[in-house]
């Protein structure tokens, strides 16, 4: 099996090492002036596509991202990692926080119509909304099989064998192509973007689009009511002996 065409999705999110601050209006988090990078699970997705290309299973990798103009940097990183060309579906800055999985799945389903890939690889979830929905919604819209939380992917004639990380352990499934899969962290170790590749990536094409042009209505269906910090952990009480411990537990109604 060779010559598959792959569409990979990536999202620009706040860098996972940054300390998040809630906005004063409690409707979101502070993003201005904060370091952003590619969603870690998306790095795994791109890396998997690149490895498949190195093994000659994949012929072409198209990377797509939905977001404000800065999403182009994220696409460039993916191109530097080895993707062939990019698609930037631009939404106005400031509205990207309201770009929800349903809208993204619709956009990707239009991109699939256009690009006709054999395989779509997305990151398992974005670290800002932790939704873990786009892959599943997209598979449903396309009526394609899905392999989510993939930690091992291997290709053989017209199908993929996928090991999924689930609560009980690991589950092996086989899906026929075309299919949608979502990458988990243990799928691979993403490569660094080498500088010669970063420079070469500047010459790779990024096609610009808008949700309108694709005929997709991205109006949010969910409204964020409130965003708050987790409650501050209360200090514990030290007790001198077991009797006091039992008393305190009774006092607080735990016994």
């Amino acid at each position: 099996m060779s010559g598959l065409r792959v569409l990979v999705g990536c999202k620009r999110v706040i860098d996972y090492a940054v300390k998040i601050r809630v906005r004063p209006d409690s409707l979101g988090v502070v993003t201005d002036g904060v370091k952003h990078s590619m969603n870690p699970f998306d790095e795994n997705a791109i890396e998997e596509a690149v490895r498949m290309k190195q093994k000659k299973v994949v012929k072409e990798i198209v990377v797509a991202s939905c977001g404000p103009s800065q999403s182009q940097e994220t696409i460039r990183t993916a191109l530097a990692m080895g993707a062939d060309r990019g698609i930037h579906v631009e939404v106005p800055a400031g509205t990207d926080a309201n770009l929800q999985p349903l809208a993204v799945a619709k956009i990707f389903s239009k991109l699939v119509e256009k690009e006709k890939p054999d395989l779509v690889i997305l990151g398992k979830q974005a670290i800002d909304d932790d939704a873990n929905q786009t892959t599943q919604l997209l598979a449903g819209m396309l009526d394609w099989p899905q392999g989510t939380m993939a930690s091992v992917v291997s290709a053989s004639d017209g199908s993929l064998t996928i090991t999924r990380e689930i609560d009980g352990g690991l589950e092996d499934i086989s899906v026929s192509l075309p299919a949608v899969i979502s990458a988990d962290l243990r799928l691979n170790e993403p490569r660094y973007a080498t500088l010669p590749n970063i420079m070469k990536a500047k010459k790779k094409k990024i096609e610009k689009m808008t949700p309108d042009k694709l005929g997709v209505d991205i109006t949010p269906r969910l409204k964020i009511l409130n965003v708050v910090d987790p409650p501050v952990r209360q200090a514990g009480d030290k007790v001198p002996d077991v009797t006091t411990l039992v008393e305190k537990l009774k006092e607080k109604g735990h016994l």
Partner: protein
């Protein structure tokens, strides 16, 4: 070049510890008195029973490198400047030798007893008294751990003007006493330039109060500067006021692979020209260093192939777009000129941290391999690596020995390390005094940032004129006529 794999065999550490006195057999204990039970009780009266330790003192007696060890029987930990003063007053009166100790991360055996000197630990003076968010000034006690200080001032959008691998253990007081350098000298300048004020206790217990938060103050002699870098031989630093730079918003890291040290220098020059004021670290390492961190600590290189040299540059600024533009120009120029054959740029904070950790973990990796002979020298940039090559050549017949070079390229500061399976006087004789003679010949410094401590004290003449050394001795007599403060350190006791 020595094949790396056969050199990198882990050796048990216990065989490496040398008693400071045995490392220098001709060093005799000074005519200090010995501690009695009365002394211990008196100290307990000053600092409280919690401030006295007479058991399990290995961790205070031995240095971080496990290369020197004293045999103190008493560690005293005061919790205020008054307690420090009272302790020193008593020691001075009784002629008891004292070693002030911070995080004990020094690399020249300067913070450990050689014999039975009392260890005066600053660990309980760990209060951060005040942060001025407008002026960007912090007032704190000497026993604050650098990482904690960094975290605390970070809450206000500031960063400490120095950073080094030992940040999780070293104390700011120790950093001052040793005038620590670190990764960011190239950006923030030397530490002494950021010190606005200090309070010091003299060996006789007198408190010298030089605390101040003034940015500019030309009123008389700047005495605090004498204590910075005095390695605890003139007094004990208890408080400091530091000027803080803004925490940068945009931090980037690039690692280049180069074929020769000349290429590294070209890379460095180009990067400084393109990046200018946003440069915040310029480090280099050779391929043996990279292999060591890969193999010993399992930290992978971000570059696919191995290269003879690596150049790491970090930028810190307040505007991401502006910094990226400069970095992209720099990268283009570097590859156009051919002085690097490969490179990577961090695209996330995690990747940036990993790349810096490759450089920061060279010392821990080498420590695990065998006995480390460490040399920290300042040299004209074009001669920095030739010293490594000369030493490597000298050591070529020594079984299991290998030599590496890495360091703060931006400060012309080379860290030369020779590793042998075991400490061996024969190996040492090949290295010293050759290293010092070479550095002296090139008019460099035999200790760029590590200080003199015990290990280098006798070599002071290689970098300082006799008139300077004589003046240092005069000053030592002024501050410490009984010679109780950190004896056998910094000043030569046998040259």
């Amino acid at each position: 070049m020595i094949p790396v794999r056969q050199c990198l065999k882990l050796t048990p550490l216990c065989s490496q510890i040398r008693h400071g006195s045995r490392m220098f057999p001709q060093l005799k204990r000074g005519s200090f008195n010995r501690i009695t039970d009365e002394d211990v009780n008196l100290f307990a009266g000053i600092v409280g029973q919690n401030g006295i330790k007479t058991e399990e003192l290995d961790h205070y007696n031995t240095d971080w490198l496990n290369t020197v060890s004293g045999f103190t029987e008493l560690v005293v930990s005061p919790k205020s400047v008054e307690e420090v003063a009272a302790v020193l007053r008593h020691c001075n009166g009784r002629r008891l030798a004292v070693v002030p100790q911070g995080g004990n991360t020094g690399l020249v055996g300067g913070s450990n007893p050689v014999f039975d000197e009392i260890v005066l630990s600053l660990e309980r003076l760990n209060n951060i008294s005040h942060i001025d968010p407008y002026a960007g000034i912090v007032e704190c006690e000497a026993g604050v751990i650098l990482q904690n200080l960094s975290d605390k001032v970070g809450e206000h959008g500031y960063t400490v003007p120095l950073d080094l691998g030992a940040r999780g253990s070293c104390f700011i007081g120790g950093n001052l006493a040793t005038h620590a350098g670190g990764l960011r000298v190239v950006r923030y300048g030397q530490l002494r330039g950021s010190v606005l004020g200090m309070r010091v206790v003299l060996p006789d217990g007198q408190i010298l109060d030089g605390r101040s938060n003034m940015r500019k103050d030309n009123t008389g002699y700047d005495i605090k500067q004498l204590f910075i870098g005095s390695e605890g031989t003139l007094g004990v630093i208890t408080d400091v006021s530091l000027l803080l730079p803004q925490t940068p918003v945009s931090v980037n890291m690039a690692l280049f692979g180069c074929d020769s040290f000349d290429d590294v220098i070209k890379c460095y020059r180009l990067s400084r020209q393109c990046l200018g004021e946003i440069v915040s670290a310029c480090e280099f390492m050779d391929s043996l260093c990279m292999t060591s961190v890969n193999d010993i600590l399992g930290l992978a290189s971000p570059l696919e192939d191995s290269h003879p040299f690596y150049y790491l540059v970090e930028t810190s600024g307040m505007n991401m777009d502006h910094d990226m533009e400069k970095l992209e120009t720099c990268i283009e120029k570097v590859f156009e000129s051919g002085c690097a054959t490969d490179g990577v740029m961090a695209t996330s904070k995690d990747q940036a941290r990993h790349m810096m950790s490759l450089r920061e973990n060279i010392a821990p990796a080498l420590k695990a391999v065998g006995f480390n002979y460490k040399y920290d020298v300042s040299l004209p940039i074009q001669h920095m690596y030739s010293l490594v090559e000369k030493i490597r050549n000298k050591m070529r017949k020594t079984e299991g020995a290998f030599s590496v070079g890495y360091g703060h390229l931006g400060d012309n500061n080379l860290h030369l390390n020779i590793i042998t399976p075991q400490y061996c006087t024969q190996a040492l004789s090949l290295i010293e005094p050759f290293v010092y003679e070479e550095v002296s010949r090139l008019k460099g410094s035999i200790s760029a940032e590590h200080g003199m401590g015990l290990k280098k004290a006798n070599y002071l003449r290689y970098s300082k004129d006799p008139s300077m050394i004589a003046m240092m001795r005069s000053l030592k007599d002024v501050f410490d006529p009984n010679g109780i403060m950190n004896p056998y350190k910094l000043l030569p006791w046998n040259d």
